[in-house]
């Protein structure tokens, strides 16, 4: 039902106006099938933004435009991109842009589509970022499982290089910046920016202590100042440069402007990626766009940011809430990378939480004590509960062990691991109680 949601939102003429003229900004491959090809991309205005930046704008002007557009990082944290770029010291002789394409969050598959189907836009975005900080090289860190994708991406980069859009003396400007692909090899933690940098350097992919932060001398790739941006974030950059900050801010809400790709998976009629302005509601996304829940079932649980954010009970209040960074936070969860895993009324929430906990135990790098030991113990407790051997004490531990992890860990993975546990224990406690026999009348004590 394309367009249906436009009508539903006609009361907001501001947003409506933009969307009438543009169907996709990021997923242009949905409109132009062969846009992955260099010639097609260029024929449709591709690399004009890079040319504009390099030929007409100073690096600082590029940063100002992106800052003014209030582009927020699409990897999950929502940090303002322009500010991130502005932290890079101007006088450092070596600087890097690193593109985070380690997309590994369960329920997230947007970067993959961008890189597979609209790769030049990501390359162009990365080069705009590189120009803005005057980077000396770009590394695109692809998760190892994107093996085929990475090989194709290298060919796309080569096409850009041959057109003098990457590599030596870009567009005759005197600025040189090669673009490389680095392939990971199966580690969720390498999506954490400092672990990612370690991984490129050939050292163990564990997070680093910060400060120094990647933007600082000593904290980045090869210890040089480095910008680390998510694929989707950078895919926004060409449009912003071409259309300006105001046009960009006309999409979405003032705090969360721009288009966002929503990944829909789990119990959903039409799984896949949906590019929509930030600010539409849960209901619009789930029912109007993705077709609702299969087999006429009711929706029970929503994970708005993959496995790493708290689960939301699908109440009417939630369904009517707008999808912005702020409003989802107000509901007690996080929009993160906007990876929606939907669970229908028949879903066993204990089982679902156990699945996610197992994921985090498997992916904990082991560097810091609370995450290493805590995820191990949470997983062990879940195994016990699912075996039917859980006790009331185990349920108590599921509530208390996260308190020993959250806020006390080296990176966010440990915090993420606690979210599915705590949010399901709090909101679906009855299901846990069934597992541990607490729902039965208390006969033993009598």
């Amino acid at each position: 039902m394309p367009g249906a949601w436009l009508l539903a939102d006609a009361k907001d003429p501001h947003r409506n106006g933009v969307l009438k003229t543009m169907t996709h900004i990021l997923l242009r491959n949905r409109d132009i099938a062969d846009i992955w090809q260099f010639d097609t991309y260029v024929a449709n205005g591709g690399y004009d933004a890079l040319k504009r930046a390099v030929n007409d704008l100073s690096p600082d002007e590029v940063i100002q435009i992106v800052s003014a557009a209030n582009l927020r990082g699409r990897g999950g944290a929502g940090f303002p991109t322009g500010r991130k770029w502005s932290f890079i010291p101007k006088d450092a002789p070596v600087k890097y842009v690193t593109v985070n394409a380690d997309e590994s969050e369960p329920g997230t598959f947007k970067d993959r589509e961008l890189l597979e189907k609209n790769p030049h836009q990501v390359i162009e975005g990365a080069l705009i970022a590189a120009y803005a900080i005057q980077a000396t090289a770009v590394y695109i860190y692809c998760r190892g499982e994107f093996w085929d994708l990475a090989l194709a991406l290298e060919e796309r980069i080569e096409e850009a290089r041959q057109a003098n859009l990457a590599g030596e003396d870009i567009l005759g400007s005197g600025w040189s910046c090669p673009v490389y692909v680095h392939l990971g090899a199966g580690a969720y933690i390498c999506g954490e920016e400092s672990a990612l940098l370690n991984s490129v350097q050939g050292v163990l992919g564990q997070p680093r202590v910060r400060p120094p932060f990647p933007a600082q001398v000593g904290g980045g790739l090869y210890y040089a100042p480095t910008v680390v941006n998510n694929v989707e974030t950078l895919a926004n950059a060409p449009w912003i440069i071409l259309n300006g900050a105001d046009a960009y801010k006309a999409i979405g809400t003032p705090e969360s402007p721009g288009p966002k790709i929503f990944c829909m998976s789990g119990h959903v009629e039409r799984p896949g990626n949906y590019e929509l302005p930030l600010g539409i509601t849960f209901r619009e996304l789930i029912y109007d766009q993705a077709g609702g829940i299969p087999n006429g079932k009711k929706l029970k649980g929503i994970l708005p940011s993959g496995a790493s954010g708290p689960v939301l009970r699908a109440t009417e209040e939630v369904l009517d809430a707008p999808l912005t960074y702020e409003s989802v936070a107000a509901l007690g969860s996080t929009l993160g990378s906007a990876s929606f895993i939907l669970m229908d009324e028949d879903t066993d929430m204990v089982w679902a939480a156990a699945k996610m906990t197992h994921f985090f135990r498997h992916e904990s790098c082991g560097k810091c004590t609370p995450c290493r030991e805590g995820t191990y113990w949470l997983d062990t407790i879940y195994e016990r509960i699912l075996r039917g051997e859980g006790t009331a004490r185990d349920l108590e531990l599921l509530e208390k062990v996260p308190q020993q992890i959250m806020g006390l860990v080296l990176c966010a993975l440990g915090d993420f691991a606690c979210n599915p546990v705590l949010s399901t224990v709090r909101q679906f406690r009855d299901e846990y109680e069934q597992y541990i026999g607490l729902a039965e009348p208390v006969a033993a004590e009598a």
């Binding site: 082991g366 609370p370 290493r372 030991e373 995820t375 531990l397």
Partner: protein, 860 residues
């Protein structure tokens, strides 16, 4: 100097250096922040989360710039919402810390509970029990019992050998990575790493050989649990049964401060024996590290091969005699031979031994030569002038420093110095590694300078030439202190300096501090004095003399060569003796027959040879009387290290019955001579004699040498969790004697230079030293045998091809009167035209430095 700032810890103000690590800053003031992964000598990683504290900063009014105050006039602190790891914070002005709040206590409790859920409760059989940080901190901050189910505990391998010296217990490991980081950061041998991830994280090594580093034992000291233990000490004793005795390592010129852990032991007839050797903190010497030779090379002191009975040779048979008989016999022989007696002292004798030997020599005849063994390096004159300044700490060398290492493979000859030079390079010091071949230091050097063997003097003289031509002369210093500058200047005319020498020299010029290490590899004794003078020239001309962290450090062969030279023994005297062939010899703790092909014949030709020795060495086989003397472990004494620090060692082990300390033996012989005095009854009294007769030792009384001062970081004691189990120093920090450069009244001699480059003909022998060899004090430590290679020689590929020799071939090396069989190693390590021959790997002597030789493949 670093600026001092004020930080607030638990409501109290403390003065600390700006930028200091918060855990260390708190520790300095006696505030404990418990840690596992943090170590004051390592970079912070924030892994274990044990050091979580509440952190904040004083609120400052933006307009006035003044600290904000609450209604009571107290400064307002803005606290971070989350706890922060103290180990990753640098002290900054206005920093406020709470270590005593309930939240902090809870966080510590939580971390300990987590660690203990995966940790076995095998403290009663764990080697670390009693000195275990995990045990210690659990008692202080941890839970009484775990809420987790013990049945779910992971069971893992408990005895994984990490090489032949260290054992890993995987169950006990808490993944703090101190061992890995020690290897990576401090040593640069990346031979340990984590394998897998999460709770499966485990320490591995697949280097060849496994855990391939000379410093592996230190990981067991800083391991905060019993995961890493030494094979040498494993299940050997409980820490609380051990008595600690301060000692000095007898193996090399670094003079590492060590602690002998001793107990009365059934394996040693109920007598006191050394169970293990541990580092003892001396921040000016070895800090808190020792090498594996020092740690595991103590077994000679209890070897069954030790001699325990004075003996005399009668009709080619060794016949036991009493000490009394031995003294009288030797005294009579000395009286008979008078000035025809030669004295030869080994470099592992204590200063007291040396002094008594010297007294004996002087009593015999004023003209008796006092030789030292090995007699390969000279230059006491230059050390006296510009030896490294009093107060030098190699760990203070950094971005403003330059270090030259010439003619030495520091890694093999003085490992802890190598470690300190490497770390100085890491901190930004300019390092020039100059030698005839590649050494391990090259990878950390600013310039790795290769000169053809034989050219060391020309190379180092070139440095002074470049200093002069680059206007890097310290005019004021030279004007005030140097003599001979005009002659030096005149000698430069027309001196041509090859480009690589000039570049290496340039790398050193302009630094605030300059230290020059001079070794003896590939340098004959005749050249060595010139080499030391070349170093002295450079140091004097550039003004790098007479102050701490500047000057000359000779890489002597042996632990107390410096002491031997100070007591008047010298290498030239040794060569004179070999030439003169005196009829009577007294040799102490040296084995010249094993090392010099001429010596067997020289001694056979002598009428009487008395040898003080611990072992039946090749030299002993040529002697007439054998005097069984004690090892360093069995008596008191002092050694003087390469930085001229005189250091005390104490009696750690019950002496083997029938043995005596060498000083006492010589004193008794003296008292049997006409005019001899009664022997001193204690080594401290011998030292008192030395202080009265040897000017530079005037301050070296035993009480002075035993003086200690607080050192940082704190180790041992209550602070095991912090600095590790290295022992704090209660035995004395030692005293350095001051050089002439440090005394205004002395002028310093600069000499003319010669940059002529001699040419070597044929195939020249270059003896090299390996840390792990078969010298008598090390060979009995069988735990190390796997690390000692069979005799080999290294040949350049080009030479080997010409000679038809391939890698692994058995070859015969012939030079003068030496014939030695060895295995050939063919590589590019040895420069063309030279054969590298490691010393003391086999039973036969090797040729002398730069002697021409023939290498042939052995048939069949």
């Amino acid at each position: 100097m670093t600026e001092t700032i004020t930080i607030i810890i638990d409501g109290q103000d403390y003065q600390v250096p700006r930028g200091m690590n918060l855990v260390d800053a708190a520790k300095m003031h006696g505030v404990d922040i418990p840690v596992f992964c943090h170590h004051p000598k390592l970079e912070p990683v924030g892994m274990c989360r044990m050091c979580l504290v509440e952190l904040g900063s004083l609120a400052v009014n933006r307009e006035t710039g003044q600290p904000e105050r609450d209604e009571n006039g107290q400064p307002v602190v803005r606290w971070f919402p989350k706890l922060q790891t103290a180990c990753t914070q640098e002290a900054s002005p206005g920093m406020a810390v709470r270590t005593d709040s309930a939240a902090v206590a809870q966080a510590r409790y939580n971390v300990l509970e987590f660690l203990l859920t995966s940790h076995p409760l095998d403290c009663p059989i764990c080697d670390k029990g009693g000195e275990c940080p995990l045990q210690e901190l659990t008692m202080a901050y941890g839970p009484g019992q775990s809420r987790f189910i013990y049945d779910d505990k992971m069971h893992l391998a408990k005895q994984i050998p990490l090489g032949d010296l260290i054992c890993l217990d995987r169950e006990r490991c808490i993944q703090c990575a101190r061992c890995i980081r020690f290897c990576d950061e401090i040593v640069g041998d990346e031979v340990l790493a984590f394998h897998e991830r999460g709770r499966r994280l485990q320490i591995i090594t697949i280097s060849d050989p496994p855990f391939d580093t000379k410093f592996s034992g230190n990981t067991t000291d800083i391991c905060p649990v019993g995961a890493l233990t030494t094979v040498d000490f494993r299940f050997g004793a409980r820490p609380w049964e051990l008595d600690e005795v301060a000692s000095i390592c007898p193996h090399c010129p670094v003079g590492c401060n060590i602690s002998a852990s001793t107990r009365l032991d059934r394996d040693f007839g109920g007598r006191k024996m050394i169970k293990r050797i541990m580092p003892r903190q001396n921040e000016a010497v070895n800090e808190i590290w020792i090498c594996d030779k020092g740690r595991f090379g103590h077994h000679h002191s209890r070897s069954e091969e030790r001699l325990t009975q004075p003996m005399i040779r009668r009709d080619e048979e060794w016949v036991p005699i009493t000490w009394e008989t031995a003294y009288r016999e030797i005294a009579a022989q000395l009286a008979r031979h008078g000035r025809e007696s030669g004295f030869l002292a080994g470099a592992s004798l204590s200063n007291e031994d040396l002094w008594e030997l010297r007294k004996l020599a002087r009593l015999t005849h004023a003209d008796c030569s006092l030789g030292v063994w090995p007699a390969t390096m000279g230059g006491i004159e230059q050390v006296t002038q510009v030896g490294v300044g009093v107060g030098t700490r190699l760990q203070d060398l950094g971005p403003d420093s330059a270090i030259l290492v010439i003619a030495s493979d520091l890694d093999e000859e003085a490992p802890i110095w190598w470690l300190q030079v490497k770390q100085a390079a890491d901190r930004g010091a300019k390092v020039v590694a100059a030698n005839g071949r590649a050494t391990k230091l090259d990878q950390y050097a600013t310039v790795a300078l290769r000169y053809p063997y034989g050219e060391a003097v020309a190379a180092l003289n070139s440095f002074a030439v470049i200093a002069r031509r680059s206007n890097a002369i310290d005019e004021a210093f030279v004007a005030a202190r140097a003599e001979g500058f005009a002659e030096f200047d005149a000698s430069l005319k027309g001196a041509r300096v090859p480009k690589p020498y000039a570049e290496a020299a340039q790398a050193l010029l302009g630094a605030k501090d300059l230290v020059v290490f001079v070794g003896g590899e590939g340098v004959t004794l005749a050249q060595h004095g010139e080499l030391m003078q070349a170093a002295a020239n450079l140091l004097i001309l550039t003004g790098h003399a007479g102050r701490a962290n500047n000057g000359l450090i000779p890489v002597w062969p042996g632990a107390n060569m410096q002491g031997a030279l100070d007591m008047g023994f010298g290498p030239q005297a040794t060569h004179d003796l070999i030439a003169q062939r005196p009829a009577m010899w007294i040799i102490a703790e040296a084995d010249p027959v094993a090392e010099d092909a001429r010596m067997a014949e020289v001694l056979v030709g002598a009428e009487f040879v008395a040898l003080a020795t611990q072992f039946m060495t090749p030299t002993a086989e040529k002697a007439h009387v054998l005097l069984p003397v004690q090892s360093f472990a069995e008596r008191e004494g002092t050694f003087t290290n390469g930085l001229r620090r005189v250091q005390r060692f104490y009696m750690a082990q019950t002496p083997l019955e029938g043995t005596l300390p060498a000083w006492k033996v010589f004193a008794h012989i003296s008292s049997s001579m006409p005019g001899g005095a009664k022997p001193r009854i204690a080594p401290g009294l011998v030292m008192r004699d030395i202080t009265q007769h040897v000017l530079r030792y005037a301050e070296m009384s035993y009480p002075n040498l035993a003086h200690v001062e607080p050192q940082f970081p704190l180790v041992g004691g209550e602070d095991m969790y912090y600095g590790g189990t290295a022992y704090s120093n209660h035995g004395g920090l030692g005293v350095q004697w001051a050089t002439n450069a440090e005394k205004e009244k002395y002028s310093l001699a600069v000499r003319p230079v010669d940059v002529a480059r001699p040419r070597l003909d044929g195939l020249a022998v270059v003896p090299v030293r390996l840390l792990y060899d078969r010298e008598p004090l090390f060979a009995p430590s069988s735990i190390m045998h796997q690390r000692v290679p069979a005799p080999y020689v290294e040949l350049n590929v080009r030479d080997a091809e010409a000679l038809g020799i391939a890698e692994g071939d058995a070859v015969m090396l012939t030079a003068d009167d030496v014939q030695m069989a060895a295995e050939a190693r063919v590589n590019s390590h040895a420069p063309a035209g030279t054969v590298l021959v490691p010393q003391r790997l086999g039973a036969t002597p090797i040729p002398a430095t730069l002697v021409e030789c023939v290498v042939q493949k052995m048939e069949g």
